[in-house]
């Protein structure tokens, strides 16, 4: 088990090297230039040239890449062109909102998704099953930004129950943080819950068709005991996988939600960094997201062992 863990963590290195290199090349190869964006629409080519030199952007690409690698080895992700601060600092500032949003959305998704899937599977073909799966289908189909904007219009503008957008730190003002987080977490979590519900349902159906479930029923266990004690845990492995993937998606992919609700997280950071061609920031966010992705996968793999004793890693 330990050996496996070490091997998995060691395997992280080549993955990250590839990710970092590809990210570096992609962002540098697409046209556009941070200096032209920063100097504004009326800047002249001479001004732009001088500022490019000041940032070292006139150096050959391979030289910039080499510098980038040596810096990373020292744990330095570079300096943001636009934000006038180290990339690591920018990332740390954005980590809290994204993590809070991720976990609250995940909570919403799991709390809605897993029970609906199980209830639907318990009586396949029933009215409950159909209604829940229709809702899940809607959840998958409705675009996130549309849902978000309608939530804002209904709950903030029309009813005035919740703020339309913004963010408060849970460390500073937990109550305000909660008020700000409800709409984004629900609109993001709802669409993710749809996927979890569908997976939970199909896994449950598969397990419920097994012989040992028939045996459990035959020996007179109540339907609730059969569903929750015997079937649920066995159906859990793929569900946990999906939850893990969902979480990874949320960390790097809550972009639309962060923009609509004006949450200063990593998703908003990478979008603005791409539009501004703030290369060091784009690379930094990709590096961090990729690392999070790989680590979450690792944790999910470890969880399998706890859920299902038959699984072991040698």
């Amino acid at each position: 088990m330990t050996a496996y863990l070490v091997r998995r963590i060691a395997a992280l290195v080549p993955v990250l090297v590839v990710v970092v290199t590809v990210a570096f090349l992609l962002i540098h190869l697409i046209p556009g230039d941070p200096v032209s964006v920063m100097l504004g629409p009326d800047a002249t080519p001479a001004q732009i040239h001088a500022a490019r030199q000041a940032l070292g952007l006139d150096r050959p690409l391979w030289e910039q890449l080499l510098k980038f690698y040596t810096r990373i080895l020292r744990g330095d992700l570079g300096q943001s062109y636009f934000l006038d601060r180290p990339v690591t600092q920018a990332l740390l500032e954005r980590a809290e909102p994204t993590l809070v949003l991720t976990f609250s959305a995940l909570l919403v998704a799991v709390v809605i998704g897993v029970p609906s899937g199980i209830v639907a599977a318990a009586q396949p073909g029933s009215l409950w099953d159909r209604a829940l799966m229709l809702a899940a289908l809607l959840g998958v189909c409705v675009p996130g930004f549309w849902l978000s904007l309608n939530f804002i219009y209904l709950f903030a503008v029309r009813l005035g129950w919740l703020p339309a957008a913004g963010y408060a730190s849970i460390l500073v003002d937990p109550l305000a943080a909660l008020r700000y987080m409800v709409l984004p977490a629900v609109s993001l979590g709802f669409s993710q819950s749809a996927l979890i519900a569908r997976i939970s349902r199909s896994c449950m159906l598969e397990v419920l068709a097994q012989d040992y479930i028939r045996t459990a029923r035959a020996k007179g266990l109540s339907p609730a005991a059969v569903t929750w004690m015997h079937a649920f845990r066995n159906a859990l492995v793929p569900v946990v996988t999906v939850i893990g993937i969902t979480m990874a998606i949320l960390i790097g992919g809550a972009v639309v939600t962060e923009i609509v609700f004006n949450i200063p997280g990593l998703g908003r950071l990478i979008i603005s960094a791409v539009l501004r061609r703030d290369y060091p920031v784009v690379q930094g966010v990709i590096l961090v997201t990729a690392t999070a992705y790989v680590l979450i996968n690792l944790v999910v793999d470890m969880l399998y062992v706890l859920i299902d004793p038959r699984i072991g890693y040698e």
Binding site: G40, T44, F82, A165, V260, F261, N262
Partner: protein
């Protein structure tokens, strides 16, 4: 009078009295409060010398001041300068500075700060460069006087020192000398009515009242005159999603929202707590030709474009079908810049003459080669007018290769003459004829026409206002003959504020919050 009627009328009288006095109260400025302003993004810098970005212009004008500013009719008026004198030969300007003006760090502003700041500005800002090309010597005379000696007579000294964009902000000498012109300043110390308290990128910029601010004695006038920081704090909140900005001003989470989409106009107008503002001038839409390389170096082809387009339907469409948001005008300076607005008859503007366009295409020897027309969807109005232009042009025989890229790509590519033929952008307010960047050889598109450049040079030298106007009218005629760019119509912008915001000057191109108070 019956008792009933008496009671009714006295009630009405009291109500009227209450209304009148509350209206009078509302007009009395009060101190205090936080004014939250939603705008569309993060500034690339808070260094006024360094960038032409409009967001930087808006923000830095609350922190810093220049020697001159613009009055309500967009003419220069003194700000940090007390007065100036010009020598008889017109070659030496001596500026007297106001005394006991403090920087945010407590230091007094003196001539050494002015000399160092404008020296830095002269190397980086487009306006500074243009002015200092005419300057032979720039030095301090004494603690409160500076002197500018010119190589030749100049018409642009005061206006260049007064423009709000990329402006000659006065920094303390130590800062102006510490940061080379091409490197942005990261220590923010000015003389403005607000000082920077905190900047959290993508979250907010907090500016608080500068208690030692020394206001001019005059009344507020345009961008200049007396300035009072009534609110304790301006909190600039970047809200990149425009629908969110609209919602937040509706809910009262923002007191002011800038740059809104025009389709929010109706909804905002139904809200009794919100006041909508049509902002003008905003931009005139423009298609800029690459005159250095490729197809559009051919003047006939550019003239054909100008002859072909029917501007009104394009403007109407871009403005969401609303007459409040566009204006048809051929003058290169908008109506709001009264000094330079022209009313010339017989210009070949908005001719939509298809036969003329076809004839010009033939004379140009054009055989349907694709013309690369670069635009972006990041600014919806640019994309919309490019698309409508493409349709109109293809109707008369042009082949338009519309290249939709993001803004960062567009502003990069437009510097390379090999990469495009035409690009879209918008022209904001230029306060002097010499500031119209599309009439220069250095700005993308590269206008190198001898007659245009000669007139620009004359405009920079000629100091008699009447002769300058005649030159500007001649330049306008040249413009429509040589067609360096296509001037479409004026587009207006939309802003909204809560009705508790008082004292806001709605007539300036960009927003300012000194002299603004909150009535709550």
């Amino acid at each position: 009078m019956s008792p009933g009627r008496f009671r009714r009328s006295s009630v009405a009288f009291v109500a009227l009295l209450a209304f009148v006095s509350s209206a009078a109260l509302a007009q009395t400025p009060r101190r205090g409060g936080v004014l939250r302003v939603g705008n569309l993004g993060e500034p690339p810098a808070l260094d006024a010398h360094w960038t032409t970005a409009s967001i930087t212009e808006t923000l830095t004008n609350h922190l810093y001041e220049g020697l001159y500013s613009l009055d309500a009719s967009n003419r220069p008026i003194p700000m940090l300068a007390e007065s100036h004198t010009v020598s008889r030969d017109g070659l030496t300007y001596t500026f007297k500075l106001r005394q006991s003006v403090k920087f945010h760090n407590g230091k007094e502003m003196t001539s050494e700060d002015v000399v160092a700041s404008l020296a830095r500005w002269s190397k980086q800002s487009i306006y500074g460069k243009a002015l200092f090309a005419q300057v032979a010597d720039w030095r301090a005379v004494d603690r409160y006087a500076v002197e500018m000696r010119l190589k030749e007579k100049s018409a642009i000294v005061l206006i260049s020192l007064a423009v709000p964009n990329n402006f000659g902000a006065i920094y303390p000498k130590e800062i102006a000398e510490k940061f080379p012109p091409e490197v942005k300043v990261t220590e923010y110390v000015g003389t403005g009515p607000f000082k920077l308290a905190e900047w959290k990128p993508d979250q907010y910029i907090r500016m608080v009242r500068f208690d030692e601010y020394k206001s001019r004695a005059e009344k507020p006038n345009g961008y200049g005159g007396g300035k009072t920081a009534w609110v304790d704090e301006i909190r600039w909140i970047p809200v990149p999603e425009v629908a969110t900005r609209v919602a937040q001003v509706e809910t009262g989470e923002l007191e002011f929202a800038d740059d809104l989409n025009l389709d929010a106009y109706d909804r905002l107008q139904t809200n009794p707590n919100v006041r909508t503002i049509v902002s003008k001038p905003y931009y005139w839409l423009v298609a800029v030709f690459n005159k250095k390389d490729g197809l559009m170096t051919n003047a006939k082809l550019r003239q054909a474009w100008q002859a072909a387009i029917d501007i009104e339907p394009i403007m109407k469409n871009v403005a969401g079908g609303r007459a409040e948001f566009y204006r048809m005008d051929s003058s290169l300076a908008p109506v709001e810049i009264a000094a330079w607005h022209t009313k010339l008859a017989g210009l070949p503007w908005n001719e939509h003459n298809r036969d003329k366009a076809r004839r010009l295409l033939k004379e140009a020897g054009y055989r349907g080669e694709p013309i690369r027309f670069m635009t972006t969807q990041e600014y919806k109005w640019m994309y919309d007018f490019a698309l409508l232009t493409k349709q109109q042009l293809e109707d008369v025989g042009f082949t338009i290769d519309l290249q939709v890229v993001d803004w960062a790509t567009l502003v990069k590519r437009r510097n390379n003459p090999k990469e495009y033929d035409v690009f879209t952008t918008g022209m904001g307010a230029f306060y002097d004829p010499t500031h119209h960047i599309y009439l220069t050889a250095s700005w993308p598109g590269w206008t190198t026409d001898e007659d245009i450049l000669r007139l620009q040079a004359e405009l920079a030298r000629e100091t008699d206002p009447r002769k300058r106007m005649a030159l500007w009218e001649a330049q306008t005629r040249q413009f429509y003959e040589k067609v360096p760019v296509i001037r479409y119509g004026d587009l207006f912008g939309l802003r909204a504020m809560r009705t508790v915001v008082k004292g806001f000057n709605e007539r300036t191109e960009r927003i300012r919050f000194y002299n603004v108070w909150l009535d709550k």
